[in-house]
């Protein structure tokens, strides 16, 4: 990111820019998703207008909502385990910030260039389980406890298909570095056909579907929203949270949706490149500098397409039951993704 500016920046300046960049990369998608999908798309699906008063077409509604939450009293239950209760939302949001660090936005626009980026992303994404479990336990509320336990069971069950779905991509690209995976999708060919590069959504379609289902469950969006399940558990692990602590949970929910969609677009849709407009660049150093500007826009566009899918499913489907969810993970998703890995390995050797 900093070669772009072509000036020497002191270390503290770099750190500051990184923090600002991280905040923008997490909060901007979250706000966009909440406004576009939660407020507007959901309203149009349900034959209503959604927020219309605050700003043009209600676009400042989110600002008003954040202001409202910040004003609210910070209520803590008397018998709650206070330090854990206070820490839980921060742990949840922290995993989102740790996750966005590995997403590449352009040839030079990245926060860190991990060799094992995929591994790291899958590892830190499960930190949020800890936060949810902490929230569920420390709230001293039976609904919260049930929600927290449900979340723990669910998130652990869906980690596995997610990892296995990504394995296919890793095998095909031959690397765990997300930057290299983007490059491999854009610059390589698909079964000898060179026209559109090799976006893994085409060759790894099974993996893509499993990954999308798994992140739907990881994000606890309907039909996998039993940890929150407002008609059963009131609000699950978030029941006792109010004011800015609830706001942090809320931001965490949608920011994680955005970041997971970014990772999915990096793994399956060609990341910051457009596979059929790659201009024949053969190595990372060839890639033109303007991709650093176009890259983030392309990533955000792809992220919006994927979050649209996530939200569409969320607003349409009823909720699974807890045991049905576990059965679906262990009996359907995991065998399918294992078969996908085997097929990928065989085809990788064959071609």
């Amino acid at each position: 990111m900093f070669a772009l500016l072509a000036v020497e920046i002191p270390y503290w300046g770099q750190s500051l820019l990184r923090v600002l960049g991280g905040l923008v990369a997490v909060l901007l998608p979250a706000g966009t998703i909440v406004y576009l999908f939660l407020f507007k798309m959901m309203s149009f699906m349900q034959s209503r207008l959604g927020p219309m008063e605050a700003g043009p077409y209600g676009s400042l509604q989110l600002v008003a909502e954040v202001g409202k939450w910040l004003q609210k009293e910070d209520i803590q239950p008397e018998s709650a385990d206070k330090p854990i209760f206070k820490m839980a939302p921060i742990v949840v949001l922290m995993s989102t910030f740790l996750l966005v660090v590995v997403v590449p936005f352009g040839p030079d626009a990245w926060f860190t260039d991990f060799e094992t980026g995929v591994f790291y992303a899958l590892a830190v994404s499960s930190i949020s389980v800890l936060g949810i479990l902490m929230a569920g336990w420390s709230s001293a509320n039976k609904y919260s406890l049930l929600g927290g336990l449900r979340a723990a069971g669910q998130l652990i069950a869906y980690e596995l298909p997610m990892v296995l779905a990504v394995m296919g991509v890793v095998i095909q690209a031959g690397t765990m570095n997300l930057q290299q995976i983007v490059f491999a999708q854009n610059a390589s060919s698909m079964f000898g056909f060179d026209g559109v590069g090799n976006p893994y959504v085409l060759t790894q379609f099974v993996g893509f579907v499993v990954f999308m289902i798994a992140i739907q469950a990881e994000l606890t969006q309907a039909p996998f929203d039993m940890p929150i399940a407002e008609s059963e558990l009131v609000s699950g692990y978030m029941t006792e949270y109010s004011g800015f602590r609830f706001l942090i949970f809320f931001i965490g929910e949608f920011a994680t949706a955005g970041v997971f969609a970014m990772i999915a677009s990096t793994l399956f849709l060609g990341g910051w490149g457009i596979p059929f407009a790659w201009f024949g660049w053969t190595s990372m150093d060839d890639v033109s500098n303007w991709m650093n500007i176009a890259g983030p826009i392309i990533v955000i566009t792809k992220m919006l397409v994927l979050t649209f899918l996530i939200m569409w499913v969320r607003f349409t489907y009823p909720r699974f039951r807890e045991d049905q969810l576990q059965r679906f993970a262990w009996k359907v998703l995991i065998p399918v993704s294992l078969a996908n890995i085997m097929a990928t390995a065989v085809l990788k050797v064959a071609f």
Binding site: A222, S231, P318, R319, Q324
Partner: protein
């Protein structure tokens, strides 16, 4: 022997006591092996799924319900007592509030009982309009159920479709009676007014919209695999148990009992003038109950269409005195309301008001089966079962 002396098990019947003891024993065994203990979960009185103030006390083992009991009375308004200090025409205002989603249907059986005591009968046109409004309130009531069902199961979109299309029906009721929720339109001996001009054509258009809404719900919700897996085989009520607990309405018909008061009794309503199908389902599970209600909403729109075609002309009010004094006697009239059988036992001593009124409302009997039904299910199934039994709080706590 603490289990046998348990105050909870002492209150239950023989068969339930046995199963309760068995579940307690299983609980105790679990406690010894894993050092776990059960948890008592209070669902309600303030809870999103009880749409009102019903309280379910559930003893849980993990997420499995060991024992559950509904506790009602948080919204008791004492209507039976209040009717004793009202005159006969004033009572309809009260009973409107019993099942607040289908208000007009609450007035009809009371007015019919009073008419029976007085020996007057409403003119044919009034009877037909009563029947039409009765079915409209059924549509308004059950269409909201169909949307709310989605919310209970986690799908948020259907409820907005239901609110959108219920609005058309409420507008019809409002233009005919003047009240959206609480029409208070029925009078002893007929109706307050005739229908406004153009109402019949408008109603036919709305009925077509409501049939479209039923199709929409059927494809959006009933055809969904997740919905089916959540409701099929959950909360099965066998035929004999349904009869034992005095269930009525769609809950009874979903257990395979072909029983509908609209068809089976001869009262001063126009149901015997039109043909309609009474839907039954052999399964008795939650899906069957929801499916029956969907079919009945569609059938109700057809009934309204047929009634509108054959509506007779004439007055809407019979000759009754200005000050109504009901002669001494007792009368029982019940009708097939949106929620099930609703009846009034009216005792008159020849005064301006009733001496005593006993209200039999459907929901109170329908939820009495929940302790039997909720044993051994999971927490999400509590919500499914309660949603499919379909109660209105005002109908439980009168």
């Amino acid at each position: 022997m603490t289990i046998l002396n348990d105050p909870v098990s002492a209150k239950l019947g023989n068969r339930q006591q046995l199963s309760y003891i068995a579940s307690q024993a299983a609980d105790a065994r679990l406690n010894v092996e894993l050092e776990t203990e059960g948890m008592t979960l209070n669902i309600g009185p303030q809870h999103p799924a009880t749409h009102g103030t019903l309280r379910i006390i559930a003893r849980l083992d993990g997420e499995q319900v060991v024992w559950a009991e509904p506790s009602c009375g948080y919204m008791h308004r004492g209507y039976e007592k209040l009717t004793e200090v009202r005159t006969f025409p004033q009572v309809t205002t009260l009973v409107n509030r019993i099942d607040w989603l289908g208000s007009f249907a609450n007035e009809v059986p009371f007015i019919l009982a009073a008419e029976k005591l007085m020996g007057v009968e409403a003119p044919p046109r009034a009877q037909w309009i009563r029947t039409i409004l009765f079915e409209l309130s059924r549509i308004a009531n059950v269409s909201l159920f169909l949307g709310d069902l989605g919310v209970q199961l986690g799908a948020i979109t259907p409820v907005f479709l239901a609110f959108r299309d219920r609005e058309y029906v409420l507008n019809l009721i409002e233009s005919a009676t003047g009240g959206r929720f609480h029409p208070n339109f029925d009078r002893i001996g007929g109706l307050k007014d005739d229908l406004p001009a153009g109402w019949i054509d408008e109603t036919k258009v709305v009925m077509k919209k409501l049939r479209n809404f039923c199709d929409e719900i059927e494809t959006l919700l009933f055809g969904n695999e997740i919905f089916q897996s959540r409701t099929r085989g959950i909360g099965v009520i066998p035929r004999d148990v349904a009869l034992q607990y005095g269930l009525s309405g769609a809950n009874l018909r979903a257990s395979g009992v072909d029983w509908d008061l609209r068809r089976d009794q001869d009262i001063a309503l126009a149901y015997n003038k039109v043909d309609f199908k009474v839907w039954t389902h052999p399964d008795g599970d939650s899906f069957a109950r929801c499916w029956i209600r969907l079919q009945e909403t569609r059938e109700a729109t057809l009934i309204v269409d047929k009634l509108l075609d054959g509506i007779p002309s004439g007055p809407v009010m019979a000759k009754v005195p200005k000050i109504i004094k009901v002669p001494e006697g007792e009368a029982w009239v019940s009708t097939e309301n949106p929620l099930g059988e609703m009846g009034y036992y009216v005792v008159s001593r020849g005064d301006l008001g009733p001496f005593r009124v006993k209200i039999r409302s459907a929901s109170f009997n329908n939820i009495s089966i929940t302790p039997w039904l909720l044993r051994g299910v999971y927490v999400p199934d509590i919500i499914t079962i309660l949603a499919s039994l379909y109660f209105i709080l005002g109908d439980i706590d009168r």
